[in-house]
Symmetry: C2
Subunit: 214 residues, 2 copies
């Protein structure tokens, strides 16, 4: 598949390498592609303008900082997103007097992206873990869970295939249901940070442990 | 230990039975104890007034609905909570136009309880799971995690012993650090509800899966 990753941070880089290694045609979209020549060489994938990357792609993946995602996707343009799978991985933070807060604390960022680009097929996933775990689920001491939220079943099925390409077996996928369940994935960021700080590592994930089979 | 559970809902009932079975001296505190005679008989533990229950106890456990917790604990009275371990299990919800929201979305309920009763030793725990799982961790298909947040190390150690009495081995306890990390436990409610609705059961928990040992 032709995949455009919008954003060139740790998550974009890790996913670009992993999906390219799985045989996909990957490009990174950047506001300043001309300043990212070294990155393109290092990763072996082109770094091009956000609009160009989105226009060419079959699948667009939002890996920008969450507080900037809507603006970055507006740069891509609604026409370039219409009818396409738009995978949203971002979680946005703001620094408040009482500590870290989500930039989209009520209606989720994923839902705001969907309402801003109603013709895109938004699926939220991978937002509950660090970039290393996203692309190396086997780095953990046992199987763990990756969540999916989205209103379009076909878009979720296509996302599931791309997760499998990253090393997430279907048994690790948990479909939470409609896109509004992205709120749960995003609000998990508070617990994620507590676990990360107390354990001194981002290299963990959670597993949903079901009831014993009867 | 003399334990007062403030609240007589599912969580209070389940914990009262389990801690009484483990040999603790348990009472349930209710606003209307005279109307709960059948409950007292059913559980085999006294149901008394909130103030009386708190005054007698060494450990007070808040299992009221989160949106009503501060008011219920005011009924107990600051003097009855001073110097005592106060275990907070509650998460509060409000119905907003956009869906479910936390009643304490910024500074956590646990922190608000602590600042309202500064002489209590507040520990947040057990708030990320259903009452059945709280008292039957073995009902799940494998080991899972129970989180602790609190500013007082002795209070957390005493809480850990009470968790062990419920069937949570020390290896399942994850100390997140100071009480402000209760925000993570409370915000997990959004993901909890998404998992519960999509899986059709409250009988699950999460396990933190660490990195592979090196």
């Amino acid at each position: 598949m032709h995949i455009a990753l919008i954003g060139t941070g740790n998550v974009g880089r890790a996913l670009a390498k992993a999906w390219a290694a799985a045989g996909h045609d990957v490009a990174l979209g950047s506001r300043h592609p001309e300043a990212k020549k070294d990155l393109a060489e290092e990763l072996g994938v082109p770094v091009i303008g956000i609009g160009e990357a989105a226009a060419r792609a079959e699948v667009v993946v939002n890996v920008t900082p969450g507080a900037e995602s809507i603006a970055a996707l507006r740069t891509a343009g609604a026409e370039s997103l219409a009818g396409k799978l738009l995978i949203d991985i971002a979680v946005g933070f703001t620094e408040e007097p009482h500590g870290m807060a989500l930039s989209h604390p009520t209606v989720s960022l994923a839902e705001e992206i969907q309402s801003t680009f109603p013709e895109a097929q938004v699926v939220k996933t991978l937002s509950t873990m660090d970039s290393v775990v996203m692309t190396s689920p086997d780095s953990l001491a046992g199987p763990s869970t990756v969540f999916l939220s989205g209103d379009n079943p076909t878009a979720k099925s296509r996302t599931a295939l791309l997760l499998t390409d990253l090393g997430w077996p279907p048994s690790s996928h948990l479909d939470l249901g409609p896109l509004e369940t992205a709120r749960g994935q995003e609000h998990f960021a508070h617990l994620f940070m507590g676990i990360a700080v107390s354990q001194g590592t981002y290299g963990f994930n959670v597993r949903v442990v079901p009831p014993k089979a009867e």
